[in-house]
C-alpha cells in the first residue's frame, strides 16, 4: 500500500516539476536575457505559478490508472493527424478565397446539425476545433456530442457529412469507426432541432 502511495507522489512531483521547467524555458525564450538577475526573477515567477496552478495541472494529466502504453501511442497518432489537418486547411482556404474573390460571391450559408458517436470529450473537442480551423465551416455549438456547424457552402462540410474527420479523430483515440451521420440542414434558427 505504501509503495503505491509513494509512486503516486513521485508521479505528481514529476508532473509539477515538468510544468516548472516548461515555465522557466518559456520565461527565458520570451525575455532573451541570461543575467542572473533576470533568470532568478523567472525562476521565482515560474515557481509561484507552478504553486498556484498545481491542482489544475494535476487534474488535466491522466492518472496512472488511465494512462497505459496507449497514452504515448495516442500522442503519436495525434501528431500524425496534424499534417492531414494542415492539408485540409490549405485546400479549404483556397476554396474560401475563391468564394470571396468571385465577383458574384456564390455562397449559400446554412447550419448543419449532426451527432457524433465519439465518446471522449477530448475527441469531441478536437473534432470541433478541427471544424473551426478548416475554412468554410465553424462549430457554432457543441453539446453532448451534438454539433451545430455553420457552413459557407454545403460542399465545404463534406468531410463532416461523410464522417472522414470524425473517423480520423476516432483513430487517434482508437474508437469505433462511425457511419456518415444523419445530417440535418437548417436555414434559420427555428429549423434547428432540439
Amino acid at each position: 500500500m505504501k509503495k503505491v502511495a509513494n509512486r503516486y507522489r513521485r508521479e505528481r512531483l514529476t508532473i509539477v516539476a515538468l510544468e516548472f521547467i516548461v515555465l522557466v524555458l518559456f520565461w527565458v525564450i520570451l525575455s532573451g536575457r541570461f543575467q542572473v538577475k533576470y533568470v532568478t526573477l523567472g525562476v521565482i515567477s515560474a515557481g509561484l505559478v507552478t504553486f498556484l496552478t498545481r491542482d489544475l495541472v494535476l487534474s488535466v494529466f491522466p492518472h496512472e490508472a488511465e494512462r497505459d502504453s496507449r497514452f504515448f501511442l495516442r500522442i503519436g497518432r495525434f501528431l500524425a493527424y496534424l499534417p492531414w489537418l494542415l492539408s485540409r486547411i490549405v485546400i479549404a482556404n483556397l476554396q474560401v478565397a475563391y468564394l470571396v474573390l468571385h465577383p458574384r460571391m456564390p455562397i449559400a450559408p446554412a447550419l448543419l446539425q449532426f451527432r457524433t458517436g465519439l465518446k471522449r470529450n477530448l475527441a469531441r473537442v478536437i473534432v470541433a476545433n478541427s471544424i473551426t480551423l478548416t475554412p468554410g465551416t465553424i462549430t457554432v455549438s457543441l453539446k453532448d456530442g451534438r454539433y451545430i456547424v455553420h457552413a459557407l457552402v454545403p460542399p465545404s462540410a463534406s468531410d463532416i457529412t461523410e464522417a472522414t474527420l470524425q473517423n480520423k479523430v476516432g483513430e487517434i483515440f482508437m474508437e469505433e469507426r462511425e457511419e456518415p451521420p444523419a445530417s440535418h440542414w437548417a436555414y434559420s434558427i427555428e429549423e434547428l432541432e432540439e
Binding site: 525564450i29 460571391m105 450559408p109
Partner: protein
C-alpha cells in the same frame, strides 16, 4: 539565398490570404459568414506569414518566439471564433441565407447586403 526566396514566397502567400480575409470581412453578408473570413483565412495566413518570418530569421531566439506566437494563435483562434459564433446563435441572430433574398434582386449575394443597407 534560397532560404530568403522561400521566406519571401511564404510571406507573400500569407499576405494574400490575409488580404482575402479582409476583403471577405467587407463583402460577406452577416456575422456568421464574416467569421469564416476573419477567423479562418487568417489561420493559414498567419501560419504562412510567421513561418516565412521564422525562416528569414534563422535559428535565433526570435524564431522561438515567433513559433510560440504561432502556437498560441492556433490554440486561441478556434476558441475565439467559436465563442463569437456561439454567442451570435444564443442571442438569436438569424443566419443570412440564399433563400431569403429570392424575393428581390437578381440573385447575387451583394443585392442582399445592399438591401440591408450594409
Amino acid at each position: 539565398m534560397i532560404l530568403v526566396i522561400l521566406a519571401a514566397v511564404l510571406m507573400v502567400s500569407g499576405a494574400f490570404f490575409l488580404t482575402v480575409s479582409c476583403i471577405g470581412l467587407i463583402r460577406l453578408p452577416d456575422v456568421y459568414s464574416r467569421i469564416h473570413a476573419v477567423g479562418k483565412s487568417e489561420t493559414l495566413g498567419a501560419i504562412l506569414m510567421l513561418g516565412g518570418l521564422a525562416i528569414y530569421n534563422g535559428w535565433t531566439l526570435t524564431t522561438a518566439r515567433l513559433l510560440l506566437i504561432l502556437l498560441f494563435i492556433l490554440l486561441a483562434n478556434p476558441a475565439a471564433t467559436h465563442a463569437i459564433a456561439r454567442s451570435a446563435l444564443v442571442s438569436g441572430l438569424e443566419p443570412w441565407t440564399k433563400q431569403k433574398k429570392q424575393t428581390g434582386g437578381n440573385g447575387t449575394a451583394e443585392d442582399e447586403s445592399a438591401q440591408q443597407g450594409e
